[in-house]
């Protein structure tokens, strides 16, 4: 195959926040850049762009992943949920309220990634202790809060969910 055999763009079809989407994407565009610039879903943030900060966290086929470490071209056939979709469905409402009540955000840049990561933890483990919460959030950077309030918020949301059961 010669280099002429390769396309600079790829056609993809996937589901984003419940809606079917078809698009043509540059092959080197990251998934998070496409979600933001192609679809206007700016709730997923672009921080470090090399997988360290977790601000770009999205849910792909039911699991949290780094939106900056996937190519948009790889989304073909995938089911993707961003913070916008998780908010609209109400599934992260208790966490969002707890973040608000505990002042678990200042600038808010890390918050979408924190919320999606915490939601996955609580879905897998309804009653994590504080060290476990810290471990689960260890891949998400916050440069404002010092994390204590975030851990408080996740612990509150977990306690709330257990009470509601």
């Amino acid at each position: 195959m010669s280099d002429q055999g390769f396309e600079a763009t790829a056609a993809i079809a996937c589901t984003v926040n419940g809606e079917p989407v078809r698009a043509t994407v540059p092959v080197r565009q990251s998934l998070v850049d496409w979600l933001r610039h192609g679809l206007g879903l700016t709730g997923s943030h672009v921080g470090c762009e090399h997988g360290v900060c977790g601000a770009c966290t999205v849910v792909v086929d039911g699991r949290t992943m780094r939106g900056c470490l996937l190519l948009a071209a790889q989304a073909d056939g995938a089911v993707i949920e961003t913070i916008e979709g998780a908010t609209a469905s109400g599934r992260v409402e208790a966490l969002q309220e707890a973040f608000h009540a505990r002042a678990a955000l200042q600038c808010g840049f890390c918050t979408p990634g924190m919320v999606l990561t915490a939601a996955e933890l609580l879905a897998d483990e309804p009653s994590p202790d504080r060290p476990r919460i810290r471990e689960a959030l260890s891949g998400n950077y916050c440069r404002c809060t010092g994390y204590h309030a975030i851990v408080d918020a996740v612990a509150d949301a977990a306690a709330h969910a257990v009470r509601e059961r």
Binding site: M1, D3, F6, E7, A10, V27, R28, S30, C48, E49, H50, G51, V52, G54, T57, V60, R63, T64, M65, R66, C68, L69, L70, L71, A73, Q74, T117, E120, L121, R134, E135, A136, S138, G139, N140
Partner: protein, 288 residues
């Protein structure tokens, strides 16, 4: 922070991927989980002409488990491997202890066991586990499939026995003898970071005596370090004998080759080596 331009292709057949590697040689890069490759591309530490995405090659997703051990195909993610080990072998197995230390959950959902082996970062957990458990790396190329023992596979920093036209298609971890005890410990600044120093181990303990054991450090040298002399010091000794443990600790401090590290000094790493040895021997003492 954007990758240099590359051509992208996602073949659905293994043969197609191998043909691309044959044609493009070291100008091609294999994209499996991409959790190390994508950062390397973003930082432009590597700029391959062709990215060969193997994620659409379905047979590479297989997890195998039988009397002879565990096999992970090239697309088995860390999280899937952890589930398989916990469910099918047990939570005490070395891999079940080590995998939670590989990066963070969102990365473990995408990154692959074979990708970590193929990358061969000297501070990574899985190459050391593969050497400790005497795993075999399955390589496929134009001339067929070959199996390379993990100890021979890792040659240096990001350097392995894989030829540029070969693909790591799987890894086999042999079954361990019943009653084998495992110890795994690492020191990192933050959970999920690469280790400053870590130690993977197994031991067979009979009536409180170490009948056999294997110790593999990572983050010390340019590839996993098998601590042969330290293991010999422990063999035949009693787990609860402070003198045996002290001798082994001294031996570990002395035995390791420490590659230059921009952040942590050699003396610190040697002291850590002794401390980690004490911790894994203590883990052996807790029957799994």
């Amino acid at each position: 922070m954007k990758p240099a331009p590359f051509a992208y292709t996602a073949p659905t057949e293994l043969e197609g991927a191998l043909a691309l590697l044959r044609e493009h040689g070291d100008e091609a890069a294999v994209l499996a989980g991409g959790q190390s490759l994508m950062p390397l591309l973003a930082l432009r530490m590597t700029a391959p002409k062709v990215l060969v995405d193997i994620n659409r090659i379905e047979p590479l997703r297989a997890v195998g488990h039988g009397g002879d051990g565990l096999r992970f195909g090239a697309l088995v993610r860390h999280a899937e491997a952890l589930r398989a080990v916990r469910d099918q072998v047990g939570p005490a197995h070395l891999l079940a202890q080590a995998l939670p230390h590989v990066a963070h959950q969102a990365i473990r959902h995408r990154g692959t066991v074979c990708g970590s082996l193929a990358l061969a970062d000297p501070a990574a957990e899985l190459p050391a586990c593969a050497v400790c458990l005497e795993a075999e790396i399955e390589l496929q190329g134009a001339s067929g499939r070959r199996f390379v023992p993990a100890d021979a596979f890792f040659e240096g920093v990001y350097a392995t026995a894989r030829s540029v036209d070969e693909l790591v298609v799987g890894v086999r971890f042999p079954a361990t003898a019943p009653g084998t005890r495992f110890g795994f410990v690492e020191v990192a600044r933050r959970h999920g970071d690469y280790a400053i120093l870590g130690l993977a181990s197994w031991a067979r303990v009979v009536d409180g005596e170490v009948a056999d054991c294997r110790l593999v450090y990572f983050g010390a040298d340019e590839r996993p370090s098998v601590a042969t002399r330290t293991a010999r010091t422990l063999r035949g000794g009693r787990l609860d004998d402070p003198a045996t443990r002290a001798r082994a600790k001294e031996c570990a401090l002395d035995e390791l080759t420490i590659a230059p590290d921009a952040t942590y000094g050699e003396g610190y790493k040697r002291r850590l080596a002794g401390a980690l040895l004490e911790r894994v021997v203590a883990q052996w003492g807790v029957a799994g």
